[in-house]
Amino acid sequence: MLDPRTKLLLAIGYAALTVAATRLTWSLAEGGVLLLFIAVIGKTRSYLRWLRMMLPMSLFFGAVVWWTADVRTAALAALKLLTLTSVFFVFFSTTLPDDLGNSLVKVGMPYVVAFVMSTSLQFVPMIHRKIKNVLDAQRARGIPLEPGWSALRHYPAFLGPILIQAFQMAEELAEAMEARGFGLPGRTFLKDYLMQTRDWLALSGGLLVLIACLLGQHGWG
């Protein structure tokens, strides 16, 4: 399919379009197109799981805006946040972290930076598992860490084990990397990343759509 760099540029373009939306109808249309795309690529189920976490955050953000502005601005802000994060949900669920990192190395990003970025993304599910284990272990001891305000009082019981385990993980990872030659000069890559015709076509099409939408929203003059 598309090169990771193409996907990244398209995601940034769509994010810009989302941020630039000034009317609720435009924002709704952008969110709708994205939902359709998620259904087409078969990610609906994982998107719904992700939405369970993101929807309350967006509503909370909207509520804060409502407090300082009006309902329309609040709805627009909440919708923008939801669409913006959904764009990157689509990007990360269709792009492998090391594909992204290694393709950026090809355009000049230092390998160490790309590696740190891709490995951090790679470890997100593991950290998520560890967070769940910590929550389960502490709740089993009678510490009320159920979601809510009362959990904030007990944050050391949650943060302490997570931080300690994160440090342990980092040390074990560094040891494993070192033992497999990380940092030797002259590194090659299993996969080559070449921009194909379809990438240029997708980028050109994306740029045209972006300009057209921006002009459509903000007028010609």
Partner: protein
């Protein structure tokens, strides 16, 4: 042994992790590892096994710092003059925790990582990936994400990632520590094959039953020194127990019967006949059953559970009585830990119900159920956040308002924690951490104690000490639920087993009753314990088995 045949050589090697520390992790170690040799480095926890292995590829001292005396030579060159990345083509290392050493998005990329470091052309990387995957029989895993594999598969991928580089020596640090018996079998077979292909293998382990039948030579470390060195059949005839090592049961039976050479596994134990003095006292004796009228503390009735639409548990029913010790056994992924989390409401049944002290877990808060169920999960690091062990033990009683100073003092004594009370819990050894976690789970006197993989990665000292503790608790009427794949421990310390496979109970009864059910054991992908295999009628020794039963 000439220098050219020697891959690794240590001369009067000493090492301390801190420059100003007087405690030596290694002390005067002289060792030569020949090309193509299969060597076991064994010893109790803290004997220096992992430290020694990390000197072979230069992680010590280059990565850890510290103070190193003497020298380590790899292929004739001192490691002090080379970097870790300069040594990785000579000595490949597989670490204990596969989860954190797999950091790529697919198995193919994981294997490619070291080859990319070498700067090999793309076509050669591809060829080596295919060849290595074929050797280890993991070709079907190549496109998969390593983080989604089972523990055994992850360990094979870790081995493949190092093997592909083509080192002269493959070093594995406690590769079986967190694996279930099925995975251990698979990794052992892979290592045997790698050795047969001519590569040197060094394995650091304290569990002898999994290693001594495979290796050519073993060295025993004790307090950082090599105290024994030679072929396993010779060394195991000596008093190795004093170095904290548990002799495999076939070896003990062989010693009792005066067999030479000593049998190292059940397969090589010759047929016993009645003319030989039968080693009766070697047979595992399960604990005495609690009285049938004992109070029921836990009931699971037709429990089924689904997670994200996928069935995890299916129609599980059992009861637990006061003073009873129940083991939930099965391979990794059978659903054991999910079942355990139903006890305190962390998971609630999709169908059926769990009652703790008569209360339906679906209608009671987790914090309320915590009063009745004390749980110690597999990884104690998931719960430690206090600065001292004493404060850590007090967390539960304070949160639940069930503080009993006299009981806490008794508990500290029972778990032998007096010397550790003012130490930071996350700085303790693995065994000490487990003891603190178990004491913390019992600190508010729950009716049920549930331990998740209590012996995982622990040595014989810990296992026998834990066994004694559990026996004392049973005598006090404590109901216990052990979730484990360590069948020999469960055989000694549980009255009853529930055997799980694919989220279902496939057998339920006394340990020997369950192990005798071959269909269920096959379904759970487990093998009976050595004790069962030696002493049960299944091993075509009905007369001996009958004799034991009579006695």
């Amino acid at each position: 042994m000439t220098a050219s045949l020697c891959v690794v050589e240590t001369n009067r090697l000493g090492y301390a992790y801190r420059k100003k520390d007087g405690n030596l992790a290694l002390d005067g170690v002289n060792l030569r590892i020949a090309s193509g040799e299969y060597l076991l480095v064994c010893g109790a926890s803290g004997s220096g096994k992992s430290t020694l292995c990390r000197t072979f590829n230069g992680l010590i001292p280059h990565f850890y710092g510290g103070r190193l005396h003497g020298e380590v030579r790899v292929a004739g060159k001192p490691t002090s003059e080379q970097s870790v990345v300069g040594l990785f083509e000579e000595v490949g290392m597989v670490f204990q925790n596969p989860e954190t050493q797999l950091f790529n998005s697919s198995v193919a990329r994981e294997i490619a990582f070291g080859l990319e470091s070498l700067g090999l052309p793309r076509a050669e990387i591809q060829d080596r990936i295919s060849a290595t995957a074929q050797i280890l029989n993991i070709s079907e895993l190549l496109p998969r994400n390593p983080q989604e594999l089972s523990g055994g598969e992850q360990q094979l991928v870790s081995i493949a990632a190092v093997l592909a580089i083509g080192p002269k020596l493959l070093v594995l640090d406690e590769p079986y520590a967190n694996l279930d018996p099925v995975s251990v079998r698979r990794v052992r077979a892979a290592l045997k094959m790698i050795h047969q292909k001519g590569m040197g293998v060094v394995i650091s382990e304290h569990r002898l039953p999994y290693t001594v039948p495979d290796v050519q030579r073993m060295v025993v470390l004790h307090q950082g020194r090599i105290v024994l060195d030679g072929p396993p059949a010779q060394l195991l005839a000596l008093d190795v127990e004093r170095f904290g090592l548990e002799l495999p049961l076939p070896v003990r039976a062989g010693r009792r019967l005066g067999l030479t050479p000593l049998p190292l596994d059940v397969e090589t134990l010759p047929s016993l006949d009645l003319a030989s003095p039968p080693p009766f006292d070697l047979k595992t004796v399960p604990p005495d059953l609690p009285p049938a009228a004992a109070h029921i503390v836990l009931e699971a009735e037709h429990v089924s559970f689904e997670l994200n639409g996928a069935p995890i548990l299916c129609d599980i029913s059992f009861t637990l009585r006061q003073g009873e010790s129940l083991a939930v056994v099965g391979a990794n992924g059978a659903g054991k830990t999910v079942l355990l989390k139903h006890l305190n409401g962390l998971y609630r049944p999709t169908r059926g119900q769990v009652r703790v002290m008569g209360k339906d877990t679906r209608r009671v808060k987790v914090s309320h159920l915590a009063r009745h169920v004390g749980v110690a999960f597999q990884n104690p690091d998931s719960q430690f956040f206090k600065l001292t062990v004493w404060d850590e033990i007090l967390v539960g009683p304070k949160a639940l308002g069930l503080y009993d100073e006299a009981w806490l003092r008794e508990l500290v004594k029972l778990f032998r924690l007096e010397p550790l009370l003012q130490r930071a819990p996350y700085r303790l050894s693995g065994g000490e951490k487990k003891r603190v976690a178990f004491a913390a789970a019992l600190a508010h006197r729950p009716a049920i104690l549930a331990l998740d993989e209590p012996t995982s990665g622990q040595d014989w000292h810990f296992r026998s000490a834990l066994g004694n503790l559990l026996a004392e608790l049973r005598m006090q009427g404590q109901a216990m639920l052990l979730v484990t794949h360590d069948l020999s421990f469960a055989e000694q310390h549980a009255h009853r087993w529930i055997l799980m496979a694919e989220g279902q109970v496939v057998a339920d009864g006394s340990p020997w009753h369950v192990m005798a059910d071959k269909t269920a054991m096959d379904r759970a992908n487990l093998e009976p314990t050595d004790s069962f295999r030696i002493f049960s009628a299944d091993r075509s020794h009905p007369t001996l088995a009958d004799c034991i039963r009579e006695k």
